[in-house]
């Protein structure tokens, strides 16, 4: 597997991590997941509804996609730790996308509770992938706490505003010794490419695909965007310059 994404000792051939939230139904979700070629996909943990059963889990297992449970909706470290432990028990995985949000309006991470939860879960043997602000200092502290990756937001969840602070993302990438996953805010394929051009190791997105007019086509576009951005990052872009540089030979006198 060339150029694999490695998180917590697991290898993934795709650098596009998908979410499952927002899809109109499981059939639409299935087509989008297939078009994305993702190998790792998030689910949320909620009370069992005997009517709906465990459909999304069955789908991911059938498609051979590794499941990444999240702690979405948790507001405190204690809630997030309990949710992660329940996810580990239900899904038999030590992977967790750790989310501890501050409020419903912004859905921004609460860095104090997040770091507390991350420390507890690392100590409990989890492979912790924290959803964090685009703050290089918090990202560094999460890495020091033993997280297997850091996942800064581009912009708030579901906004499609893209990467509001590319400079911060670049600083996080430059300092990080663990994979950096751009998580949240992506609206379209060029923004997924931008994340990869900034040096991110992967992109995690859901809404941009699941709520697109055509989720399957957008999933395909995101796959290509991530691949293009990764290739460009590896190729090394030209430096920006102030004045023109002719690309054709000068005319002879």
């Amino acid at each position: 597997m060339d150029d694999a994404l490695v998180i917590g000792g697991r290898k993934f051939g795709s650098r596009l991590i998908m979410g499952t939230g927002g899809a109109a139904n499981l059939a639409v979700l299935e087509r989008a997941l297939l078009a994305s070629e993702t190998e790792l996909t998030t689910v949320a943990m909620r009370r069992v509804d005997a009517a709906t059963g465990t459909g999304v889990l069955d789908l991911l297992r059938r498609l051979g996609i590794e499941v990444l449970p999240n702690t979405a909706g948790c507001r405190t470290a204690a809630e997030a730790v309990l949710t992660a432990r329940l996810a580990r028990e239900a899904l038999e995985t030590d992977l967790v996308k750790l989310e501890v949000i501050a409020d419903e309006r912004t859905l921004l991470p609460d860095p104090i509770e997040l770091l507390d939860a991350a420390e507890q879960l690392v100590a409990d043997g989890f492979t912790v992938l924290p959803y964090t602000n685009d703050d290089p200092v918090v990202a560094r502290k999460l890495e020091q706490a033993g997280c297997a990756a850091v996942m800064p937001l581009g912009s708030p969840i579901g906004t499609g505003l893209g990467i509001r602070n590319p400079h911060n993302i670049a600083m996080i990438v430059e300092a990080a010794g663990v994979p950096v996953v751009l998580d949240a805010g992506i609206g379209t394929a060029s923004e997924a490419a931008q994340a990869m051009e900034l040096g991110c190791d992967a992109v995690l997105l859901a809404t941009a695909v699941t709520r697109a007019a055509d989720p399957e086509r957008m999933a395909h576009a995101m796959r290509l965007g991530v691949q293009a951005g990764r290739a460009a990052w590896g190729a090394g872009r030209i430096p920006r310059r102030r004045w023109a540089l002719a690309s054709s030979p000068a005319l002879e006198d």
Partner: protein, 66 residues
Amino acid sequence: MRITVNGESRSVADGATVADVLAALGMPSTGVAVAVDGEVVRRADWSVSELGDGAAVEVLTAVQGG
């Protein structure tokens, strides 16, 4: 005795275990996890974990999200 399951009050036999409650409610036995009073009960302990009167049982599974 009375317990709550996912927020709903229910009457169960004295000495009922986690496994008894899941079976009675037709809950799936795989892909779910159980917490009683805020503590995870491991699958291996479901059939021996007796519930007390007033126990708060949460049964969670994976749903679309994130």
